[in-house]
């Protein structure tokens, strides 16, 4: 076939390309196109064909009923559960839309909700320079990101000129964000310190860090939250009353710091000995050497692990319902006891699941993007 082609062009006309630079021949027609794709990816062998049939059968069984329930047969408006049932057999999303404010703000006083909104806007402003290194004025943005948790804390809790809002009123997605962001913001520095301590050659500090990390990683978060809610107050000075949310924040931070420390330790161990030697030979002391040479490299290597820890922490914020805080799940379960809306647990769970899926999936995609970027940016 090819031979024919060549002789044909050769004999009849001058080639229209510089000799020696023959343009690539188009691929043989039977390796491209949708039919070839289907053949290669779906039907390449008997086993493959069986797999395809099974998968399509599975999809056929699962997809149409789920879509029906969620969209085509769902009620989006309605007074109560019965109104939903009257129009459609599927999901009753009217419930979610009616309670949407509650899901977002919890019981935060209505006249002060602008403070939550403002904190959220500030959060976006703080996060952009962290995520993208091409942000204009990035340096100032990073400084802002560092003080953001404190500004947001002031805005949300109040005091110093703002109406104080008791933290029992916090709830919904806002509570998730408060717990998640605080945990993320404070567990990273603490984790770094613990990791450095674990790698240190001072035995007492090392032993302390190792036992702390292993303890944290050895027990479930829920038990630590129980400790925070039941027995922590015994260890505080008599008469002090410690805010439950604050206790939870401390525990969540300590908890993810333990995991963070292990992730960062992995990064520290991956740094060649030569880097330490070169910075020693230059006369850099311990802290400058860590700050300028070791940590930037170690943190960069550990980014995937760090983001994974963040995602884990963020998902773990749901556990606060077990000690009675009202995160979206808690709000949802509380709303279910309203007789107007009983039996709609699936709607609640799916709605909250969607919220978590979107945020966690975005985080993991971002981590992948960073990983790829760092790999190509400058080869080591």
């Amino acid at each position: 076939m090819e031979k024919n082609n060549l002789s044909a062009t050769g004999s009849t006309m001058k080639p229209d390309y510089v000799i020696g630079e023959h343009p690539d021949l188009p691929p043989p027609s039977n390796t491209i196109g949708p039919i070839a794709w289907i053949r290669d990816n779906l039907l390449s062998s008997p086993a493959n064909i069986v797999m395809t049939i099974l998968s399509i059968f599975f999809l056929y069984k699962i997809l149409p009923p789920s879509l029906d329930w969620m969209f085509f047969d769902a009620a989006f408006v309605g007074e109560d559960r019965n109104a939903c049932r009257a129009v459609a057999d599927g999901a009753c999303w009217a419930f979610i839309s009616e309670r949407f404010k509650l899901f977002t703000y919890g019981f935060y006083p209505i006249e002060n909700r602008w403070r939550v909104d403002l904190s959220f806007v500030l959060l976006v402003i703080a996060v952009i320079p962290i995520l993208f290194d091409k942000t204009p004025f990035r340096k100032y943005g990073l400084w802002f990101a560092m003080v953001f948790p404190f500004i947001a804390g002031w805005l949300l809790v109040g005091g110093f000129g703002l109406d104080p809002v008791p933290t029992e009123k916090f709830g919904g997605f806002m509570l998730t964000l408060v717990v998640g962001i605080t945990g993320i913001a404070f567990s990273l520095p603490l984790g770094i310190l613990l990791a450095l301590g674990r790698q240190s050659n001072l035995p007492i500090i090392k032993v302390f860090c190792v036992s702390f990390i292993e303890f944290i990683r050895g027990v479930p978060l829920i038990t630590l939250l129980f400790v925070a809610s039941t027995m922590l107050s015994y260890f505080l000075p008599p008469g002090t009353n410690f805010d439950l949310l604050l206790r939870v924040l401390i525990m969540v931070t300590l908890f993810s710091a333990g995991y963070m420390a292990e992730v960062i330790r992995g990064g520290l161990q991956a740094i060649p000995k030569g880097q330490f030697e070169a910075s020693d030979a230059m006369g850099l002391k311990y802290w400058p050497s860590m700050r300028l040479i070791v940590l930037p490299q170690a943190l960069k290597i550990s980014i995937p692990g760090i983001v994974n820890t963040f995602i884990g922490l963020y998902k773990d914020t749901t556990l606060v319902i077990i000690i009675g805080l009202l995160d979206p799940l808690g709000i949802g379960r509380a709303s279910l006891s309203d007789t107007k809306w009983t039996g709609l647990s699936n709607e609640v769970y799916l709605f909250v699941a969607l919220f978590f899926f979107v945020s966690c999936f975005a985080m993991s995609r971002y981590s992948l993007y960073l990983e790829n970027k760092l790999q190509t940016e400058h080869r080591r």
């Binding site: 797999m51 399509i56 001072l202 303890f215 990683r217 027995m231 773990d316 647990s345 769970y349 999936f361």
Partner: protein, 397 residues
């Protein structure tokens, strides 16, 4: 030389001590130790004062008092008159039960997912991908609640149970299964089974020795399989099936007899396993991809068969990469089983750390017990995994 040493600026003793490497490290450690100790002492002092103020002491005597609450699922004898200690034992067993079953199911599902993710089939591959991403990115507590909700709401009441060939009945009160009544002859079968296991352990090393010395190769897998499964099965039927199955029957509003698996257990088991399987799937996939395909090619170039290539080259190497993260998934499943409390499955946290704690008001004691128990499990699992890791590494060399 002497004048150059003298020319160094004279420094005072504090600076000299602080700048000496050894003394500095000692000073820092003393300060750190003192700070930690002081904090510890301060907290203990507070605790003593606080406890005194409300007239509490620290004592574990409550463990022997009657617990006076019910536990729906218990493998050992338990009534509401049993002690808190017995309740704790029940909790421990239930935690271990869910951990062991969860580890088994999640491993199977996880390896399956990992293989599906590597499949060349586009639809299967993408299905596995969607499943993994959805499951990983939604909190496990939500999975548990969702599945529990589905079981409780979607399955029928006992009176119209889903009937599986007149032996098992699926209801929203639990799955009712036939329970085995073991007769004395069955112990023969069991003994044969144990002997089969011992035989195959011995046979494996024997076959390896023979292969090393003579090059002769025995089909170890098949011989071991028939020793462990085959002979006991034949024996079982020869002895006339020495197990009676007691089939559950509907009596009044519920099934009686047979064996029941509670909906809480099922929900927790499925949710934890599915959740962890998604992580294991990714671990397996990346483990196998990391074993370079060049290795596979090299092996097939040597004329090693495909199955042998997998078992001799790919799997051992992939396992070496897979096992450490797998361990932490096993630890996670054990720790996540504590979420049982959200749906009322009576594990450690729900028994001793939950109802017992609330009834007796002994926060310190109960929480200490709970923390210590989990620490023990974690240390045991990681010790076992470290041992296994070492073994794999040794045999690799």
């Amino acid at each position: 030389m002497s004048e150059t040493t003298l020319s160094q600026p004279q420094r005072n003793i504090v600076s000299r001590l602080w700048n000496d490497k050894e003394t500095r490290s000692i000073i820092i450690q003393i300060i750190a130790f003192a700070a930690i100790f002081a904090l510890f002492f301060y907290m203990v002092r507070n605790a003593v004062i606080n406890l005194e103020a409300i007239g509490k002491d620290i004592s574990f005597d409550f463990l022997w008092q009657p617990a006076s609450y019910d536990i729906s699922q218990s493998l050992v004898e338990y009534t509401s008159r049993s002690s808190h200690f017995t309740a704790m034992i029940v909790g421990i067993i239930n935690t271990l039960l869910i951990a062991v079953f969860g580890i088994l199911l999640s491993t199977v599902l996880g390896f399956l997912l990992g293989v599906l993710r590597l499949s060349k089939n586009w639809v299967t591959n993408k299905l596995a991908y969607v499943y993994i991403e959805y499951t990983r990115n939604v909190p496990v507590l939500l999975h548990i609640l969702l599945i529990h909700g589905l079981i409780v709401h979607a399955l029928p009441l006992p009176k119209n149970a889903i009937n599986v060939s007149d032996a098992a009945f699926l209801t929203n009160r639990g799955f009712f299964l036939p329970s085995p009544e073991i007769q004395p002859l069955f112990w023969f079968v069991l003994a044969l089974f144990v002997m089969g296991i011992i035989f195959s352990i011995w046979f494996r090393s024997y076959a390896k020795r023979v292969q090393d010395e003579t090059g002769k190769y025995y089909p170890v897998f098949w011989i071991s399989l028939s020793a462990i499964m085959g002979f006991p099965l034949i024996m079982y039927f020869l002895l006339g099936s020495p197990i009676d199955w007691q089939i559950p029957e509907l009596k009044g509003f519920n099934y009686k007899g047979g064996m029941v698996i509670r909906p809480e257990f099922i929900a927790l088991w499925i949710a934890l396993s599915c959740y962890t399987a998604a992580f294991i799937g990714e671990i397996v996939r990346s483990g196998i991809t990391a074993v370079s395909w060049g290795q596979t090619e090299a092996a097939s170039a040597l004329g090693v068969s495909r199955g042998r290539t997998l078992s001799l080259v790919v799997i051992p190497q992939a396992l070496r990469i897979i096992i450490p993260p797998l361990t932490s998934q096993y630890l996670n499943i054990t720790k996540n089983s504590s979420l049982a409390i959200a749906i009322g499955y009576m594990d450690i946290v729900a028994t001793i750390g939950g109802i017992s704690l609330n009834q007796t008001g002994r926060e310190m004691e109960c929480m200490t017990i709970v923390l210590l128990l989990y620490l023990t499990f974690s240390l045991l699992i990681s010790a076992f995994m470290n041992w296994y890791n070492k073994r794999i590494k040794l045999t690799e060399r």
